[in-house]
């Protein structure tokens, strides 16, 4: 951290120009002033002893709307939902000790999915730090590995500067969470306010943005010569802003190449386009994974070769030249060695590729590409997402197909969040994602309980939109208390529970890989979700058979309050296609193969 000005220097400046003297205010006032200057309009939080001065300032102003969550974990996920659905920095405010430790899961989630979040935590007064004071925890110590950066502010004169820098760090380069820990005496103490323009920054912190043009030209040349190319895009294309998605669509159209995306990248390319192969990875489509395996040029933009995507590393796309565009130097050559790394912002890199392609008059190898598409159509014909329909029992895939039907008919903007498990994968496979920033899911960390608070964050940012949390009955119970938040702020969030009474993904693994020993994955006593919704002041609906489903979804689409839809689905349904662990992309199993699956092999 650069030095704060000494008092002497300050006095000197003051005597030269009294008007330019920085405004003096308390630490708590500075926090609010700086948040307003940073454009924060909504903050998610929970008060407590060590943040009371800041809450006092929140009480006195009207520019920032505070959303009172029911547990601090909810505040962080709500801030994530807000950030991902707007592209802005999400903001949370929690107290010291348990407030901060409850926030840790959300911070780690934001870290792994590169979501810009600033979390302000209260701390015991500086003179009590280290004495095991009431509600004291070493917040900067605990959050150091799960944040992009964190601060403990001991000098009120530095506070405003730190807040401005925190926002800068959270949103620039590869975005991520930043924690500012503020002791209570610093919130009370008076100091000089520093405006956004004058904030003292880590001046060297300048993440790379513009691509190396030589590398871009090489990449485009490789693309032009490709016979079996595939675009593999990720969350980076979303994080770069809506422009990234626009550029991507143009480049993909220009080249005529097939495109697949990670869980985090869904929506950057429209799912209803014929060049779209669907999601790739462990539960990705047959055509996407086979295309990845057999391609000769792979263009990875803003994805990080996650283990759920690559499957077995030594058999991952063995015969391809790999181009990797990433803004984070540590993502390159981390899991997969690539042939052509490009360190840059995704939008700028894609635009540069597009311009070089046009300028040099490149044309795709139409003959080879035609053969490649023929092969892809052959894989597509497997119809890998097919499932056995049933007249008596609701198949989870069918429930989502019906939801998709009604979402497509709805004129509102639709935002989807999920919890974690089978329902999450089915949502990724079956729901329509045609625009960026409409899909919010916990990808890297896999946090059960993410979806409801994230939906609250998204609905706060988009009051008139249709926001649905596709949930499982196990996940939803992890942050069910946020129902109360949704009721308090009149947020008409919909919770679409695919209720199979099992921790479905755990059950699926136990069935396929652990000799059908279903250890602790069945929930013996579930609440009545309809009554639960009503108890909170929301609306509860239930569908038990396929013919009830449409009416229930129709009703859900029109409710003006938080609504739980309890969809009783087939308890034994498994999520396919699936790449078993330790297998390659071309060894995936489809639903009809499941019975033949050698359960001792994995």
């Amino acid at each position: 951290m650069a030095k704060a000005k000494t008092k002497k220097e300050d006095e000197k400046v003051a005597s030269i120009d009294a008007k330019k003297q920085p405004k003096e205010m308390t630490g708590a006032e500075m926090v609010i002033e700086a948040l307003i200057e940073q454009g924060v309009d909504t903050i998610f939080g929970y008060p407590g002893g060590a943040v009371l001065p800041i809450y006092d300032e929140i009480f006195k102003q009207k520019k920032i709307k505070h959303v009172l969550v029911r547990q601090e974990g909810g505040a962080l996920h709500a801030a994530e939902g807000y950030a991902r659905s707007t592209g802005k920095v999400g903001c949370a405010l929690v107290t010291s000790g348990p407030g901060a430790t409850n926030a840790v899961t959300g911070l780690t989630d934001a870290m792994l999915d590169s979501i810009p979040v600033v979390c302000i935590t209260g701390q015991v007064p500086t003179f009590l730090i280290g004495t095991d004071g009431f509600q004291e925890a070493d917040t900067v110590g605990i959050t150091r590995p799960c944040t992009k950066h964190n601060y403990l502010v001991k000098d009120p004169d530095e506070l405003a500067s730190v807040v401005h820098e925190a926002f800068h760090i959270a949103r620039s380069g590869r975005p991520g969470p930043v924690v500012i820990d503020i002791p209570k005496d610093v919130q009370f103490a008076k100091g000089a306010y520093t405006t956004k323009e004058k904030a003292v920054m880590h001046t060297h912190y300048q993440p790379p943005i513009d691509p190396d043009m030589e590398a871009i030209e090489k990449a485009v040349e490789l693309m032009a010569e490709a016979k079996r190319p595939v675009f593999y895009t990720g969350g980076g294309v979303i994080n770069t802003g809506p422009g990234g998605s626009v550029e991507l669509r143009e480049l993909v159209k220009l080249t005529g190449f097939p495109i697949t995306s990670t869980l985090m990248g869904l929506g950057a390319y429209p799912a209803n386009d014929k060049q779209w192969l669907g999601m790739l990875g462990m539960h990705g489509t047959y055509e996407a994974n086979w295309a990845m395996h057999d391609c000769d040029v792979m263009i990875n933009i803003g994805a990080r070769f996650d283990d759920r995507v690559t499957g077995r590393i030594d058999k991952f796309s063995p015969n391809s030249k790999k181009i990797h565009v990433d803004i984070d130097v540590s993502s390159i050559n981390k899991n997969v060695i690539v042939d052509l790394p490009i360190l840059a912002d995704a939008e700028r890199a894609i635009r540069a590729m597009k311009e070089v392609w046009k300028k040099k008059g490149y044309k795709s190898d139409q003959k080879a590409l035609g053969e490649w598409w023929k092969q892809i159509d052959h894989w597509r014909a497997k119809n890998c997402l097919a499932y056995k329909k049933d007249k008596k029992v609701i198949k989870p895939q069918y429930a989502l197909e019906r939801l998709r039907h009604f979402m497509e008919k709805d004129k509102r903007d639709c935002y989807v969040t999920t919890e974690v498990g089978q329902h999450q994968m089915w949502a990724a496979q079956f729901l329509p994602f045609n625009e960026p920033n409409r899909w919010m899911t916990s990808g890297g960390l896999g946090t059960m309980g993410y979806g409801l608070p994230a939906a609250i964050g998204a609905q706060m940012a988009h009051p008139d939109a249709f926001v649905v949390d596709v949930a499982g009955e196990a996940s939803i119970l992890m942050n069910i208390q946020e129902m109360s938040t949704a009721v308090q702020y009149r947020l008409p969030v919909k919770i679409f529970i695919l209720n199979n009474q099992w921790m479905g993904m755990v059950r699926q693994w136990q069935e396929l890989l652990h000799g059908e020993r279903y250890s602790e994955s069945y929930t013996e006593s579930l609440p009545d979700f309809v009554k639960l919704a009503e108890a909170y002041g929301g609306i509860g609906l239930r569908a038990e058979t396929p013919d009830e489903l449409d009416d229930v979804i129709k009703e859900m689409m029109t409710t003006d309050r938080v609504t739980i839809v309890d969809v009783l689905v087939d308890q034994k349904e498994n999520c396919f296609p699936m790449i078993p662990s330790g297998k390659a992309h071309n060894e995936m199993i489809l639903s009809p193969d499941a019975d033949k699956f050698d359960k001792t092999l994995v």
Binding site: M1, V140, I169, V329, S330, W509, H514, Y518, S581, G582
Partner: protein, 190 residues
């Protein structure tokens, strides 16, 4: 439920792919220039422990008081891919200004300092002093029963001296770990 049925023993299963075959490990000396702010050393060390990297030695001190910069010298062992990851991970820490892999980027000099306490009497005292002389170690403390020697040099030289002192009554060693700097006129990151 079928849980009660006796199952054949299956191979252990994991949700992760099998560990990749490891390449040869190498030892590298990294010089890292950082803002000297609270917690910066914890960030660097936490990165190594959190991601399972090795630290063979680590030295740190402020080297530029005006700009509050510290220099950390880390000796680490790992496969070339791991060493590259370490550099990349260090580079993205906010307070890190510069990461230089001296082992591959440049010719360099390295030195380590050790204080070696030997307790002995009689002929062994004479032998200890003679050996110290050969190694250009200086006695910086002496009692009738002991010496403290100061020795600087490469790690190998320090090791050799300590081995030599062992039969003569070695009781305590304090080592600084390696400090290293590139040869020639250029500063780090030039």
């Amino acid at each position: 439920m079928t849980g009660t049925k006796r199952q054949k023993k299956t191979k252990s299963v994991s949700v992760y792919a099998p560990a990749p075959i490891q390449a040869e490990k190498e030892t590298h000396i990294l010089a890292v220039l950082v803002n000297n702010e609270p917690g910066v050393l914890a960030r660097v060390i936490g990165l190594f422990s959190g991601r399972g990297y090795n630290i063979e030695s680590l030295t740190v001190a402020e080297t530029d008081q005006d700009q509050h910069l510290s220099r950390i010298t880390i000796v680490s062992t790992g496969t070339p891919a791991v060493i590259n990851q370490i550099k990349a991970q260090l580079d993205r820490l906010v307070p890190v200004l510069e990461v230089s892999d001296l082992t591959v980027e440049t010719a360099y000099v390295e030195r380590e300092l050790a204080l070696v306490k030997v307790a002995c009497s009689g002929d062994k005292r004479i032998e200890a002093l003679r050996s110290a002389d050969i190694f250009r170690a200086r006695a910086v403390d002496s009692t009738l029963e002991s010496f403290v020697f100061e020795i600087t040099g490469t790690t190998e030289k320090v090791n050799a001296f300590i081995d030599l002192m062992r039969p003569l009554g070695l009781v305590d060693v304090s080592r600084t770990g390696i400090a290293a700097i590139s040869r020639g006129k250029d500063p780090i990151g030039a």
